[in-house]
Every structure is written in C-alpha cells, then in structure tokens.
Amino acid sequence: MIKRKDTEKCMARAKAADRAMTGIFYSVGGFFLLLLLLLAGYIIFKGITDFYPELLTFGRNGIGNQFFNTVYLVFLSLVISVPLGIAAGIYMAEYAKEGQILSFLRVSIESLSSLPSIVVGLFGYLVFILMTGAKWNLMAGAMAVSILNLPLITTTTEDAIRSLPRGYKEGSMALGATHWQTIDRVLLPTSLPRIITGVILAAGRGFGEAAALLYTAGQSTNINWSNWNPASPTCPLNPFRPGETLALHIWVMRTEGSLNPNSTAIANFSAAVLIIMVLGFSLLARFLARRIDRKTGGL
C-alpha cells in the first residue's frame, strides 16, 4: 500500500526537480544570449578600437579592394544562382511529377546543401581553374559560391510557390491562361517576396564564405582603380582576375603577421565589417519575412 507520506515525498521531489530543471533551462537560455552579445560585441568593439583611417583605403593596408571583391563576387554568384535556382524551384513545384525524377532532384539538392564547402571549393578548383587552365579568378569563385547557394534558393522558391493558395492557380487557368502563363504572371509575382528573402539569406551567407574560395577566387588581389578596360587583369570589373574576399583576407592575415605589422588590426576590422554585413542582411531578410507574414495573415 502506498502511504500518503510517500506520495507527498514523491511529489515534493518531482517539484524540486522541476524547479531545478527550469532554472537550468533559464540559465542555458541566458547563457547563449549573453554569449552572442559578447561575441558580436567583442568583434565589433575590436574592429572599432583597432581602426585606423588607412583601413578604408584601397591599398595594402586597407580593405577597400577586398570589400569590393566580396560584394562583386556575391553579385556575380547571384547572377548565376538566382535564375537557375528559381527556375529549378518552379520546375519542382509545378512541372515535375511525383516520381523518380523529382525524388532524385530532391536527393541532389539535399546532397548539394550538405556538401562541405571545402569540397565544393576543390570541385571548383578542378573544373573552373585546372580544367580551363585559368588563374585564380572571381568568376570561378562566384560559380563555387553559386553551387553553395543553389539549394537554398531552389528550396525557398519551391516552398514559396507550393504555399500559395490553390485558388490563384485555378483562377488563372480557368481564365484560359496556359500553365506557364499562370506561373509567369500569377504564381511567380505573388511568391516573389518570399523568394527575395531567400536570396538575401543566400547573399548573406556568400559574404562569409571562405573555404570554397581558397582555391577558386584566390588569396590575393591587385586592382588598379584608374584602369577601366574590362579585359585588363587589374580592372576592378574584370571578373577573370584574382579576387580575394574579406573572409579570405582574415584567413590570409592570420599567417601574414610577420609580413604586415597591421595584420591583426586588418583582420579585426574585416571581421567587424563582415559581421555588420551579415547582421544587416539577416535583419533585412527578417524584416521582409515579417512583412510578408503580416500581409498574408491579413488576407
């Protein structure tokens, strides 16, 4: 027979355990928020305290060139991956029939998204550098980053189109539009905000990519800002010149301590700039996502 006293003891123990665990959960939650604040705060603080005006220039002690390369490379990669990813997403959401091809495509995208970026970098090195006989160049880097971006853009597009109300499609087709016209005029425009959110996230990720660029975009850069002949290897806009990005610059500065006395300051400032770029993009994506939610929630 269970005595009343035992039951009470058992309950008291359960309650104590509950309180203890709640405390633990709160402290872990708090710990992570604190860790993030400390981390982001430290990076930005370090970047500011180590700042010297020359950092903003385009020379050897500045990061202007690397900053430009980063933006340009991400832009190039989006030029490749956005059309391809959106088209593939449309295919998956609208045209592919449930079956072998679709499931194979899903497995492909899953494999792509789980590939280590260094492996993608090696693939890029082999195909875009060794097999073409080219030197390190921005385009090769952009293609490697596109491979990393593609899964995200494709799946966001597919999800965005699939989550639209059926009525949109039925209404359009009932008016006599073809399937493609429906996609082009109705489905794509209405799902565009969500797709853009995905693209922004992809861009944010592209800014920080380094391992895939190690052997594609190269670890050096040489830009002549008065040279605007796109065929010249020092022209800023030539996509076939070596283009070290900010993230890679941090990696390079790590080993260049003896060569460049400012390397720590440069790396600290680069890290701060990268963090701010990534934060800005993720905030932008979040803001857009929330606006979309509010819009569709009001329907």
Binding site: F25, F32, L33, I101, F104, L115, I118, V119, G204, A271
Partner: protein, 315 residues
C-alpha cells in the same frame, strides 16, 4: 487577351501559340532542374575519379589510407612510392567533432527546450533571431575569434604546451558553430509534438519537467537526432575555423590540450602547393572523397530516421 475564347478552337490551341506561351518556359525550367541533377552527379563523379586515384593509380590499399598513420606521399606528378596513411587526419576529425557534439548537444537541447516549452515568447522574439545571427557569423570569423581569444585563453589557463592550439580549442569553436543547427532543428521537432500529449500528462498531475522528459523528448526524438546529425555534418565539413586553432601538427593528440590535424585543415593547407595528379595531390582528393562519403552517410541516416518516424506515426 480579348482574342482568347473558351473551347477547343481558340488561338491558344495552335501549336505556335502554345510553343510560345507554354513549352518555352516549361522547357527552360525543366532544363534547369535537370542541370542541378547533372551538377550534383558531376561533383560526385569528379570526386570519385580523383579520389580513387590513390588506390588505382598508385596502388595503395584502402586499409592503408584509413588506418595507417604513416603519411609521407611523394609530391611529384606521376611518381608514387610514398605512404598515404591518413589515420591522424581522420582521427583528428573524429575527435574534434565528437568533442564538439559532446559540448553542443546538451546545451542545444536545453536551449531548444527553453525557447519552445519554458519561454516561447522570448524564444520567438529574442532567441530565434539570436540563433539566426549565430548561423550567419562566417566561419572564418569564428576561427579568428578562436585564434585570438580562445587559444591564448587555453594556453594561459591550462598551460597547454603548444601555445593553446589544441583539440579542445577546435572542439569549442565547432561546438559554437553547430549549436544553432541542433537548436533550430530540435526546437522544430519539439514544437511539432501535439499539445494533446502534454495536456494528457499535465492532466495526470505531471510537473513541467516530467512532461518534458517523459513525453516531449521521446516524441521529438527523431527530430532531435536529425538535428544532431545535421550539426555533426556541419562540424565534419568545417575547414578554415578548425584549421586556425587545431595547430596542424601531424601527430595523434596525447590529450585534449595537444594539437593535431584533421581532414579539412589538411586539404585547405596543402591542396594549393601539391603537384596536380601527384601522389600527395590524389591522397588529398581521397580525403575529400572521404568527406563527401561522410556527408552522404549523414543524409542516409537522416532519411532512415525520418522514414522510421513516419512509420511510427502511421502505426
């Protein structure tokens, strides 16, 4: 648009019209879909061709590559005769990732519970964005912080011999990097546990912890495992952050405070200065192939888990 009529005889049924308005677009997106498949296949094939070169061109055994610690490959095009035992690198990858998982998994799980069960409001307003920012921080930046803060810290506090470059440093950096992955996926899994389960347990007088431990965890287990595997796969593939703090010493680590090397760091460091097609070069490709097979293995495991989960839900 006024020309369009319903019925079978409208202009929209002429081949030319349909070609322009339907088949062109359809063809284009289909090609893009196929292109992704081809891209994935070609990555796999290139890796396979290059990665097996060690075994076919230079006739090393797979056994030697996986289990021997004797690493001195020749670095000249088309000349073999060295040794390609990658056991130290493989061991380094396992150790750092295992340690990272050991640190990150309990913390992430607790964080996931915190943001779903304990404090959903803070969870969605503060915690979710914070986790997303964690994901967004580039891996080199993690590596740089590890190099400038964590490594000196380990050197001073634990008195590590190699100036703090250690398995421990790599494990901690990786743990911070995979924590968001495990947390988000587990939180999703916990959220999708039906409320009836919890209500039934609360109705019988359970405390919140009892509900979490006895009801929510078991019900969300497949999702939590998926999160852990995804985190592991991110840790295994991470290159530069680890390379910055692991010390890149070609030796088995004596303890957590000694430096070692791992697969990704070795590839990142050596690929650029190895002769294309040489023994060293191909051995590095074999390591990339190994990484690739790890990520395939992880995908396979995740599929098994989700299939099992589905079967259980049906029953």
């Amino acid at each position: 648009m006024t020309k369009q009529r319903s019925g079978g005889l409208g202009p929209q049924n002429s081949t030319a019209y349909r070609l322009k308005k339907e088949y062109l677009g359809r063809g284009a997106v289909t090609v893009c879909g196929i292109l992704i498949i081809l891209l994935t296949l070609s990555i796999g094939i290139f890796l396979l061709v290059k990665g097996t070169g060690t075994f076919t061109k230079y006739h090393h055994s797979v056994w030697e590559f996986l289990f021997s610690a004797d690493w001195s490959p020749m670095d000249r095009a088309d000349q073999g005769g060295g040794t390609v035992g990658a056991a130290i690198y493989i061991c380094g990858t396992f150790l750092t990732c295992g340690l990272a998982l050991l640190i990150a998994a309990p913390f992430s799980l607790a964080a996931a519970v915190f943001m779903t069960e304990i404090s959903p409001k803070t969870g969605s307003r503060l915690f979710q964005p914070a986790v997303e920012i964690f994901v967004g921080i580039p891996s080199v930046v993690y590596g740089w912080i590890g190099l400038t803060v964590l490594v000196p810290f380990i050197r001073d506090v634990f008195g590590a011999k190699m100036g703090g470059f250690s398995v421990l440093a790599a494990g901690i950096v990786l743990a911070v990097m995979i924590f968001p992955t495990i947390t988000t996926v587990s939180a999703d899994a916990i959220r999708s546990v039906p409320w009836d389960y919890r209500n039934a347990a609360y109705g019988m007088g359970s405390t919140r912890w009892q509900v979490i431990y006895h009801i929510v965890f078991p019900a969300a287990r497949p999702g939590i495992f998926t999160g852990i595997i995804l985190g592991l796969s991110r840790a295994v593939g991470e290159a530069l952050a680890v390379a910055m703090v692991i010390g890149k010493t070609r030796a088995f680590p004596a303890n957590l405070l000694s430096p070692t090397n791992n697969l990704t760091a070795a590839i990142a460091a050596d690929m650029g200065n190895s002769a294309d097609g040489g023994e060293h070069n191909l051995a590095l490709w074999s390591m990339a192939l190994l990484l690739f097979s790890f990520s395939m293995l992880f995908i396979f495991i995740i599929h098994r888990i989700s299939r099992k989960g589905r079967d259980r839900d049906k029953a």
